[in-house]
Amino acid sequence: MAEEHAGQQSHGGGSSFGGGRPSGPGGGPGGRPSGPGGPGGPAKRGKRSFVRKKKVCRFCVDKADFIDYKKAEILAPFIQERGKILPRRMTGTCARHQRWLTVAIKRAQNIALLPFAAEF
C-alpha cells in the first residue's frame, strides 16, 4: 500500500519536469521542479508521504495574453512584504508569464504603484 503510494508520487515528480506549459486547459503539469533529490528519489522509503498541492500558473488559468502594469492589485500578490518579486518556484507562475510579470512589476514600481522596498 505504502509502496504503491510512493510509486505514484515518484511518477508525479517525473511529470512535473514538463514545467508549466502555457498551452492546455489545466495549465499543464505544474508543480515545482523537485529539489536536489531528483524526481522520485526521496519518496522511495516508507515515510509518510504528503501530497504536494499542484501549483498552477494563475495567468495561464486566466489565459492572460498581457499583464497590465497599471493594475497594482493584480501584481501585489507576487511581491513579498518587503517589496521583492516572488520567485517562480513560490508562486507556480510559468516562465513566460513570470517574464511578463517582472516587467509589469518593475514598471509599476517606477510610477509608485508598487514599492521598491518597504518603508519603515
Binding site: D65, K70, A72, I111, A112, L113, F116, E119
Partner: protein, 145 residues
C-alpha cells in the same frame, strides 16, 4: 511606418487645484498636436496613495493618458514639459504597441485553435462508435486486458 502607442502617466502634487492639472493636460495636448501626435484618451485617476514617498509626499494626483504617434520625438518633448511643469512630481512613459501587437497575435492564435478543436474531436467521437465521451485525445489504445 507603424503607429506607436504610448502610455503616459504623471503624478501631481495632491494639493494642486483641478484647474492647474487641466492646464498641464492642455499643454501636453497642444504639444502633442504640434508634433503630429494624438492623445487618444485622458483619464484622471484622482488622488491615490503612492507606494513610497516622492518629494516627501505620500499621496499624489494620478493622470493617465494614451498617446499615439508615428515617431518617438514627441515623447522627448512631452517629458521635457513634464519635467518643468511645477505641479508634476513624477511621470512615466511606456511604449506599448509592440506588446499589444503580441497580445493580438496570441489572441488570434488562441481563437484559431479554439475554432479547430471541436472539429477535430467530433469525427473522432463518431469514429470510435460507442466510446464514453472522453474529453481528451481519441485514445487509439483499446482497453485490452
Amino acid at each position: 511606418m507603424d503607429e506607436r502607442q504610448y502610455d503616459l502617466i504623471f503624478i501631481c502634487r495632491p494639493d494642486t487645484p483641478e484647474a492647474d492639472i487641466d492646464k498641464v493636460i492642455a499643454t501636453l495636448e497642444s504639444t502633442a498636436a504640434e508634433k503630429g501626435a494624438k492623445i487618444e484618451s485622458t483619464a484622471k485617476w484622482g488622488r491615490k496613495r503612492m507606494a513610497y514617498r516622492v518629494q516627501k509626499l505620500r499621496e499624489g494626483y494620478f493622470v493617465y493618458m494614451v498617446l499615439k504617434s508615428s515617431h518617438g520625438e514627441v515623447v522627448k518633448e512631452l517629458e521635457r514639459r513634464l519635467k518643468v511643469a511645477d505641479p508634476v512630481i513624477k511621470y512615466l512613459t511606456v511604449r506599448l504597441d509592440e506588446e499589444l501587437k503580441r497580445q493580438e497575435k496570441l489572441k488570434r492564435h488562441r481563437d484559431k485553435r479554439a475554432a479547430r478543436r471541436p472539429r477535430k474531436t467530433v469525427p473522432a467521437l463518431t469514429g470510435a462508435t460507442s466510446m464514453p465521451p472522453v474529453s481528451s485525445e481519441p485514445a487509439p489504445v483499446p482497453p485490452s486486458a
